[in-house]
């Protein structure tokens, strides 16, 4: 058991390092997009460690307890994440719903400490974050319902093996509309540009993050990176057939994250009720049609 926990922590740490570096590389790519060089690839690491070393303020015990709970929840979720179809910390306990709901613990921790800080911007930011979650969660879960119904198993490794088995191909191809909905939901989860209303720097002073500084802000950055890692690797395992070896995983991971980042950098920002209206119009209809096609008619490419 201790060995599994250590592997889990290793995976979480690897996830953090992987995501932060890829985020750094993406900042260079987006920089290039905007005709400038963009910072060094390890800029993200520098920001985080600079913040962790600074002394900052706290608004009471709930303010700190929330941050700890948030980071703890996210690390716990990352520990369950399988990297390739045979490398994961806890054998056949990587159920899909653990990820969806353990992330919620992280969100709850952050939300609690944000509204505990007493700043109205933070509460409004949390409100927007929850509303966006409500928006992207349902279509995403409908598509996942189709996937689990087809594979007959809700553990990620089984889904990966199902996609890698001969004869059937990745769900991105097998359920094209589902894959698209999954990607849009991923954009929502990552908080990339069209759905970035809850950390909108201009409108609500970067939302929940407004009162943080120093180590609290640093921990929240780490939390943000690891949750990005979880969400992107979820997408990779569910729709791109996971990975047989670590390099395949890295390549797929990089492609997906960069694509999401590129789309985000050219987009504007939705108002919060536009986000909800958008998600409950097109993605939901596409998810339901995909589900009906896949489950009732059984047409899976």
């Amino acid at each position: 058991m201790i060995l599994n926990i250590l592997i889990g922590i290793g995976i979480a740490f690897f996830g953090f390092v992987l995501q932060t570096s890829i985020a750094g590389i993406n900042r260079k790519i987006v920089g290039r997009l905007q005709k400038r060089h963009g910072p060094r690839w390890y800029q993200e690491f520098i920001d985080i460690f600079k913040l962790l070393s600074k002394r900052s303020i706290t608004h009471g015990w709930i303010f700190d307890f929330g941050v700890i709970m948030a980071l703890g929840g996210i690390i716990a979720t990352a520990m369950f994440m399988p990297l390739t179809n045979n490398f994961l910390a806890f054998e056949n306990f990587d159920n899909f719903f653990i990820f969806v709901y353990l992330i919620a613990v992280g969100m709850l921790g952050m939300a609690m400490s944000a509204s505990g800080s007493g700043n109205p911007w933070a509460s409004i930011g949390v409100m927007r974050a929850l509303t966006t979650m409500l928006a992207y969660e349902v279509p995403f879960l409908i598509v996942v319902l189709t996937i689990i119904n087809l594979t007959g198993n809700s553990s990620l490794t089984e889904i990966m093996l199902y996609q890698q088995a001969s004869g059937n191909n990745w769900f991105l191809i097998a359920l094209p509309i589902g894959g698209l909905v999954g990607f849009i939901a991923l954009m929502g989860m990552l908080g990339k540009k069209p759905f970035e209303t809850y950390v909108a720097p201009a409108e609500i002073a970067s939302g929940p993050m407004v009162e943080y500084g120093g180590k609290q802000l640093g921990m929240l950055f780490i939390m943000n990176e690891i949750s990005a890692f979880i969400e992107v690797s979820l997408f990779v395992h569910l729709f791109l057939g996971g990975a047989t070896n670590i390099f395949e995983f890295l390549i797929k991971y990089f492609v997906v994250y960069t694509l999401a980042n590129l789309i985000s950098s050219v987009n504007g920002r939705f108002k919060i009720d536009q986000v909800v209206k958008f998600f409950y119009k097109w993605p939901l209809i596409m998810a339901v049609t995909q589900a009906v096609i896949a489950i009732y008619f059984g047409w899976v490419i």
Partner: protein, 607 residues
């Protein structure tokens, strides 16, 4: 060998003694009530788990008991909720108008509940139901509004009357009043009639979609210590009838090919999912904390209905476990709100804020309760939601799936609203001198916190007991080992999740401790973009918490209330028409009716 009949008689006797004691001094009377309920709980738990309650009847005329796992499961949960709530009585009863009748009615309704879950005869079931209805009906008007009792009574009576008609149809078909033979003997169209009638009764008591108007009114306005009982315990009666209808009768209506589910069950599932969606939407909009929790009970009632309408072991396990998890969670949440309401006098989120600073333990109790209510891992709610998701996905029910997922995410929103608006945020000046709830009231909060965590991390024992129920109902149970639950398409190890969450938090705590200690700053000193704000009311974001979301469905939110008021108006107009037709002042109408009847009768025969 505790006998059910003696427990009921003991409760009635205790009720009368409590009446006299509370007349003499409320504190004493309430303490006596606590011990009375504790005695019942202990004797029930002691003998009940081993299924050796003595069910012989020698005093009560015409009443017969039988012991079933199903009945015991419901009884033990509800008696436990009663016990937890009775700890609150000493502090609340003093300001009610008819306080000495409060304990009496409280114990009488408990006697009714014990009887209802242990009887095997339909008429006794109806007798105990009606007893519960009218005893609880008199408790509700002691709270804020008086109309709450009328709408509560109206819907409950409509439900139990529908059940009674169903009972008489079964009596007509099977000739016996015994629940189990009676329901087994049903078939064909009779089965469908009785099924529909029982479902109406279940919906009325559970407060599900079409008949949910009374839930927020009754729970919101009931006296503070009584709403946990209302939503934690009494709503489960509806679930009990739902189980009878959905599992015992399960009429063989036409099969829904895609999901091999009888149409009757699927319709109930759809209605259940509609009550999930509407409950969530209405809860997000609600400003009064207790009404918000009432709507959450409505949406959880929807979950229970969906679980029981999918005919397989996993769904039943999810449903039964959800009954337990919801009972604990909503009781805990309501009691926390009751503690806040006692200290501040209001449950409106507009007028509250920053209660965490003065009532931290109540805050913790509320936090753990809402984590379980939202179905987030370390707590019990997650297990039952996971089981229900397994069943829904396995059956491939897409539209029910949408509602179930929407409900689980939406519950995260509406449980967070009181947390942020009521407990966190700025600390308002008028509540600076508020004290934490007294010790006696904290005992149940601690117990409930512990139980919520226990049901979330070690569900093995409870699920094994639930397996007995499922086997008793005639379906195969789920395989549960000490730490793992394996559903149809996945294995879950809640203990492991709890452990890993602890490990994660440990790491985060380590990071936090290692780094420099941050300077404590009081709440008013926040980033306000350079304009000076001196009043914390302005800085407290509580009113219209989800404004952008609420604007989306503003107009359609009170369709149902308008429908029922229109219905009541129609009945009143019918009455006026009746008065005009038959009760007019001049005599000619009576003469007209007499002549009309004679002519009508003689038309065919003599004329």
């Amino acid at each position: 060998m505790a006998s059910v009949e003696l427990l009921i008689l003991f409760l009635v006797g205790a009720g009368v003694i409590a009446y006299i004691l509370t007349r003499f001094n409320t504190f004493l009377g309430s303490i006596f009530t606590i011990f009375a309920v504790m005695f019942v709980f202990v004797s029930l738990a002691g003998y009940g788990f081993g299924m050796n309650m003595d069910t012989t009847v020698n005093i009560l005329p015409g009443i017969s008991f039988t012991e079933t796992y199903l009945g015991f499961y419901f009884a033990i949960i509800i008696v436990f909720v009663y016990l937890m709530v009775s700890f609150f009585h000493p502090y609340y009863l003093s300001e009610y108008k008819y306080k000495n009748s409060y304990n009496l009615l409280f114990l009488l309704s408990l006697a009714g509940i014990l009887g209802a879950f242990y009887t095997d005869n339909f008429l006794n079931l109806f007798f105990f139901f009606e007893l519960i209805i009218w005893t609880t009906m008199f408790l509700i008007p002691q709270g804020k509004s008086k109309e709450a009792a009328v709408s509560y009574f109206g819907f409950s009576i409509a439900g139990s009357v529908a059940m009674l008609i169903g009972i008489f149809i079964t009596y007509n078909v099977s000739g016996t009043f015994s629940i189990y033979q009676g329901l087994a003997a049903l078939s064909g169209t009779n089965a469908i009639f009785v099924f529909v009638l029982f479902i109406i009764a279940a919906f009325a008591k559970l407060g599900s979609f079409p008949l949910h108007i009374w839930l927020p009114i009754a729970h919101g306005n009931a006296p503070h210590p009584f709403s946990p009982v209302l939503s934690g315990a009494l709503v489960k009666l509806g679930a009990f009838i739902g189980v009878l209808a959905l599992i015992r009768i399960a009429p063989a209506t036409g099969l829904f090919t895609a999901m091999d589910l009888p149409i009757g069950q699927y319709v109930v599932a759809i209605l259940g999912s509609m009550s999930i969606v509407f409950g969530t939407l209405m809860a997000i909009k609600e400003d009064d904390a207790k009404k918000l929790l009432a709507y959450s009970s409505m949406s959880h009632g929807g979950y229970i209905l969906v679980a029981f309408s999918i005919l397989n072991g996993i769904a039943f396990a999810g449903g039964f476990y959800h009954i337990l998890a919801h009972a604990l969670a909503s009781a805990g949440a309501f009691m926390a709100i009751a503690a806040v309401a006692r200290a501040t006098g209001t449950t409106k989120m507009k007028e509250l804020g920053g209660m965490i600073h003065k009532m931290p333990i109540t805050y913790l109790a509320y936090l753990i309760a809402i984590i379980s209510m939202a179905g987030i891992p370390p707590m019990g709610g997650f297990i039952s939601k996971w089981l229900i998701f397994q069943a829904v996905i396995d059956k491939g029910m897409i539209f029910v799936g949408i509602a179930v997922f929407f409900g689980s995410v939406g519950s995260f929103l509406y449980v967070f609203r009181p947390l942020a608006a009521l407990f966190l945020g700025q600390e308002l000046t008028e509540y600076k001198k508020v004290k934490e709830a007294p010790l006696l009231m904290l005992i149940p909060t601690f117990i409930l916190m512990g139980l919520n965590v226990y049901t979330g991390v070690f569900p093995g024992g409870i699920l094994k007991f639930i397996n007995n129920i499922i086997v008793e109902l005639g379906y195969t149970g789920i395989e549960v080992s000490t730490y793992e639950i394996n559903g149809t398409n996945g294995i879950l190890n809640p203990a492991l999740i709890g452990l890993i969450f602890a490990v994660g938090s440990g790491i985060a705590f380590l990071i936090f401790i290692v780094l420099k200690k941050s300077r404590k700053v009081e709440l008013m000193d926040t980033y306000t973009a350079a304009n000076f704000v001196h009043d914390e009311h302005l800085l407290h974001y509580a009113v219209d918490f989800y404004a952008p979301l609420e604007r989306l469905y503003e107009k359609q939110s009170n369709w149902m209330t308008k429908f029922y008021t229109a219905l009541a108006e129609k009945v009143r107009e019918l009455g006026k028409l009746g008065k005009y037709l038959f009760m007019s002042k001049n005599i000619s109408t009576t003469v007209f009716w007499i002549v009309a009847i004679i002519i009508f009768l003689l038309w065919g025969e003599v004329l």
